[in-house]
Amino acid sequence: MIMAATSPPVAELILKVASRCDLACDYCYMYELGDGTWQKQPRFMTQHVADVTASKIGQHSAEHGLPSFRIIFHGGEPLLAGAERIRGITEAFRSELPAQTKLLVSMQTNGRRLNEKMLAALPESIRIGVSFDGAAQATARHRLTPSGASSYQDTLRALAVLREHPKNYGGVLAVIDLLNDPLTTYYALREQVPRTCDFLFPLATRDGEHSDGAYGRWLAEVFDGWHLDKDPRAPVIRLFQVIIQRLRGVDIRCGFIGPPPRERSMVIQPDGSAELLDALRVVGDGAAATGLSILTSTVDEIIQHPGYTQPDPCLACKKCPVFGVCGGGYYPNRFSVDNGYDNPSAYCADLAFLISHIREKLEELGVL
């Protein structure tokens, strides 16, 4: 392993508290992309694994003087792990973090098991993001139960609960399907009154078909209906937020567009294995693995694994006029068997179109 002298600190853990899911979405990167590592995992993270992880994160936070640390409950479907387990894990982190480090708690769920009783049993200030594709037809196309039924009504019930508890309502995430009308999809998300939402490109590498810009045009239609929307329910859309800010020269960082974040994010599996980005499963079986475990290594040892450093964008990207905004895009989308990550994104045409479109609109408004 290449040992870096110093690595940026880890400021966030994605805790895989459950390795199974109660939905069978056809685009899922965990189960549908050929990576079978989840089958080797225990169904749930134990309190012992959580205690060891929390202890090591406490030490790491103290050594690096972190002002805050975020844990994100994820899976599989994290609510399968149950509220009691999630509270126990949260308590372990709260007791291990130094006094100067704020604990931030989030979860990404499909919402099927989220009701008032469940929410009341979860950590009090948990921020919950819900995966939701918008209209009924869109959800019925991809987000299905194992028996093939649409999860739409279940998700709507969860969103209704969260609307009553805005402090706990993180937002909604929708995967783009070009078969759906862009504005219909935006309005369907807006109807759920999330403060924030986002639209995701389906996972792809350069080895598949390259998009010709259709996703960028789809998103540009959403942008046009969104940016001056006076409906009080209109959410912030994360992708647009990042593009707007970067076009204005604000150094906003995230993991999917623009230069990489300054801090690191680490995935911990139920058995304590440390992993890289989940989305790397699209690259191949075991691509997210590090071979390291939080049970036997320190956080600083794990983070020196070279996979935690994003690969450099290709030369063509660096010469591109929108590089300062897109930074080469989400790096799993740059992968090809022949060149590794030395490619433009599979969504290069889309990002270029969307960024140029937003720039034109902001110039028209005098914002740029």
């Binding site: 709260r94 937020q241 993991g255 005098g366």
Partner: protein
Amino acid sequence: MAATDTNTPLARVLAMDNDTTLLAGVYLFNSVNDGYDAADAEG
């Protein structure tokens, strides 16, 4: 100018703090810099 209407999402984005980091990657939703985290830390 329409963009300065504080009721629009664009105006809200323009009013957000600078130099933010959004971690967790695109397939998870955690923080948009909306002020809630600072107020509601300590899960």
